[in-house]
């Protein structure tokens, strides 16, 4: 059996297992209508899950990392994307464009666009990123009006994933992007524990070469003077791409020019030490699934600990070595005493 065939077979089994599990957990036969709806959602989700299992052999990671190793021009200031949530119409074209560019499993654009008007739809559940799904748009309600929120890697200034990685497989580039190197990853998944935004996803269905997958900020585009695929495809002018300081300035301009429309908070300006994706919104961010985070970068928590441990270990070493010498000399004395007496 060659490798491709082996993987294919594996994935088929993997997909079937997942569907089975999924079917069990979501069955809630309250009445026929709901049951029918559930079946349809399940079908839709099964398709997504089945597709995502094919993401084994993700090539975006390797492509971007290769680019990172070759890149010679570094910008003076990191880039950022500013997301204006008040403008998002939930067309999910950004999801489609992301999949398209990164060669992730994809479906026709029409299916993405119509999901906001369909019932049931993918918006019925709050989703997170998964293997082969670098970005997702979720729908929240404020009063009766829907608010759509795009979710992807925030590209922290001081990334928790990078700091958590014990083989140093992440890099923060001077462009602002946080990149992952699949040729070092051991697969411990500590980055997933550490990420405050729950972004890194794992290829659980690849038995041999699983990878972490996440948004790369389209590093392979922004280094070629293009803008990220999701930003480019957006027709509702939700996202703007540019140097971070300019994006921050733009965010506050928008807020100040229209204080009725926006709350006075740029999410990502200070959160966990600042991120390279910035959000402005008309609704408090807590209501839109954003975690409430303070200014402390996540790496600080572990750095403080590591410093303490190192100091304690060195401080403890001295008395322990002394005790060892003491014991050895005591034993020698005794032996000497035994032989003479």
């Amino acid at each position: 059996m060659d490798r491709r065939e082996f993987l294919k077979k594996t994935l088929t089994i993997a997909g079937m297992t997942l569907i089975g599990v999924y079917g069990d957990s979501s069955a809630s036969p309250q009445n026929d209508k709901i049951k029918e709806q559930n079946d349809r959602i399940r079908e839709q989700n099964d398709r997504i899950i089945q597709d995502s299992t094919k993401s084994t052999g993700n090539i975006a990671n390797r492509r971007n990392w290769g680019k990172y190793e070759k890149v010679k021009e570094f910008p003076k200031e990191p880039y950022a994307v500013l997301v204006d949530l008040t403008k998002c119409i939930g067309c999910r074209r950004c999801e489609w464009a992301c999949n398209e560019w990164n060669k992730n499993p994809n479906r026709p654009l029409k299916e993405f666009e119509e999901s906001k008007d369909r019932s049931p739809s993918v918006f019925d559940r709050i989703r997170r990123t998964h293997a082969g799904e670098f970005t997702v748009v979720n729908r929240f309600y404020n009063g009766g009006t829907p608010v759509y929120v795009k979710k992807q890697c925030m590209h922290c200034a001081e990334p928790a994933c990078l700091n958590a990685c014990f083989v140093d497989a992440f890099k923060k580039t001077s462009h602002g992007a946080v990149l992952y190197n699949p040729s070092l990853c051991v697969g411990c998944r500590y980055c997933m524990i550490a990420c405050p935004f729950d972004i890194p996803a794992y290829e659980y269905y690849d038995p041999i070469t699983p990878q972490i997958t996440k948004c790369t900020m389209c590093f392979d585009r922004i280094t070629e003077d293009k803008i990220p695929a999701c930003v480019e495809v957006c027709t509702a002018d939700v996202m703007r791409f540019g140097p971070r300081s300019e994006m921050l300035k733009l965010a506050y301009e928008k807020i100040n020019n229209n204080p009725q429309r926006y709350i006075n908070h740029v999410y990502g300006e200070h959160e966990v030490g600042g991120t390279n994706w910035l959000y402005i919104s008309g609704v408090p961010f807590e209501k839109l699934g954003f975690p409430k985070l303070d200014k402390t970068p996540i790496p600080n928590y572990s750095k403080n600990f590591l410093f303490t441990v190192k100091v304690l270990e060195i401080v403890a070493a001295a008395p322990l070595v002394w005790a060892a010498y003491y014991m050895i000399s005591k034993n020698k004395e005794k032996k000497g005493g035994d032989s003479s007496g």
Partner: protein, 393 residues
């Protein structure tokens, strides 16, 4: 012929192969074999089909039973070497010399098999050497743990090798490692203390994900202290069991002497448990978490603290007062279970505490059987070594 008789003498304990097998055809061995069969099936299934089909791990729960039980709980319970080994070899507590060798053996096996189990949890287990030889994530707490595990296994091997070379009859090597032993112990204290704390430190980076009752900047200290009392209670548990099972290996066994020492261990246990309780109380007050106590998570927290820390402490005090070694032995089981519960609470139950119970992680039978298999392997190896080498006498 010569090597054959060596094999017969050392491995088969002087029996013929046939005798050896038939001596082991008992119910406990049958059960062990059954568990191992399921466990090996799970291991092979995991290796062939990946983590997805074998486990219930997900993007929301990247760490499951194997981390919580095999690593977090397992390493805490493998602390006998850190506690008793140190007290005996470094501080010359001769009274407890008999406890030292079994303690070190259980640490050695505990660590080796924890790493063995970890291999199945790592997505690319074949790259585990990267962290030691190839690429260093110096700011990662997991990096510190990986290195400390690596070093501590070497330290345990050095501490254990006198017994091993005694068994092989190589006296010169035995003496050499005996001399090295004290230095291994010195570094063992530093290394073991460091990574026991670091296991708690792992969760410092998830302040928003872990329930406030369990999240604390003192997590490393809590893990270290609870590893100390886990270690001591494991010494009590293991000596209790081995004194029943390996009676023939104990030549001059005095039950009264044994009871006295068990009570002595209980005293140490009480002190450490009290320190832990006081720190827990400080923690609760410092973060002003009192209001959380009146919730389901609060009741669960109280069960852990009152049921498995405070209650055993009070029982132990009573047992010491009435000189009741049997009660100490029973309570040691409760304390050890409490430590396992604590590790599960921090890493699974209080992790992602805001998501509904139905969406939380629960292990598959394969995850459970693999973990059980690892425990079985530890017991079998322990038994194998104790019956051959001078561990208990």
């Amino acid at each position: 012929m010569g090597s054959n008789s060596w094999f017969k003498e050392k491995i088969l304990l002087g029996m013929t192969f046939k005798d050896y097998i038939s001596r082991h055809a008992t119910l406990p061995f049958f059960i062990a074999l059954l568990i191992l069969a399921f466990s090996f099936y799970s291991m092979i299934y995991r290796l062939l089909y990946g983590l997805g089909p074998a486990t219930n791990l997900s993007d929301t729960y990247p760490w499951g039973l194997w981390i919580s039980f095999d690593i977090l709980a397992g390493i805490a319970l493998a602390a006998p070497g850190l506690t008793v080994g140190t007290v005996v070899y470094l501080f010359g507590a001769k009274d407890y010399k008999k406890f030292a060798r079994p303690a070190i053996l259980s640490s050695l096996l505990g660590y080796i098999f924890a790493v063995f189990a970890l291999m199945f949890d790592l997505g690319r287990y074949y790259r585990i050497g990267y962290v030691i030889f190839w690429s260093w994530g110096l700011n990662s707490i997991l990096f510190l743990i990986a290195w400390h595990f690596f070093l501590y296994i070497i330290i345990c091997l050095i501490e254990w090798s006198p017994a091993f070379f005694e068994w092989l009859g190589k006296d010169k090597l035995r003496d050499f490692f005996s001399k090295l032993g004290i230095w291994a112990t010195v570094f063992g204290v530093i290394i073991a203390g460091g990574h026991q704390a670091a296991l708690g430190g792992l969760f410092l980076v998830a302040p928003t994900k872990i329930h406030p009752l369990w999240y604390s900047s003192m997590l490393p200290l809590f893990f270290l202290i609870s590893a100390l009392f886990a270690g001591i209670s494991m010494v009590i548990i293991e000596s209790t069991i081995s004194h029943r099972v390996f009676k023939e290996h104990l030549k001059d066994f005095e039950p009264k002497e044994f009871d006295r020492k068990t009570i002595g261990l209980a005293k140490a246990l009480i002190v450490i448990l009290f320190v832990y309780l006081i720190l827990k109380l400080f923690d609760l007050a410092h973060y002003d978490n009192w209001h959380y106590l009146k919730s389901n998570y609060g009741y669960w927290y109280l069960l852990e603290i009152v049921g498995f820390v405070l209650a055993p402490t009070l029982i132990l005090i009573n047992a010491v007062k009435t000189n009741n070694a049997k009660l100490v032995r029973i309570t040691a089981f409760v304390v050890a279970f409490g430590v396992i519960l604590n590790r599960f609470n921090v890493s699974l139950i209080a992790y992602n505490w805001y998501i509904p119970l139905t969406e939380k992680y629960y292990p598959t039978w394969m995850e459970v059987s693999l973990s059980l298999g690892v425990v079985t392997l530890i017991i079998l190896f322990y038994r194998f070594i104790v019956r051959r080498m001078a561990i208990l006498e």
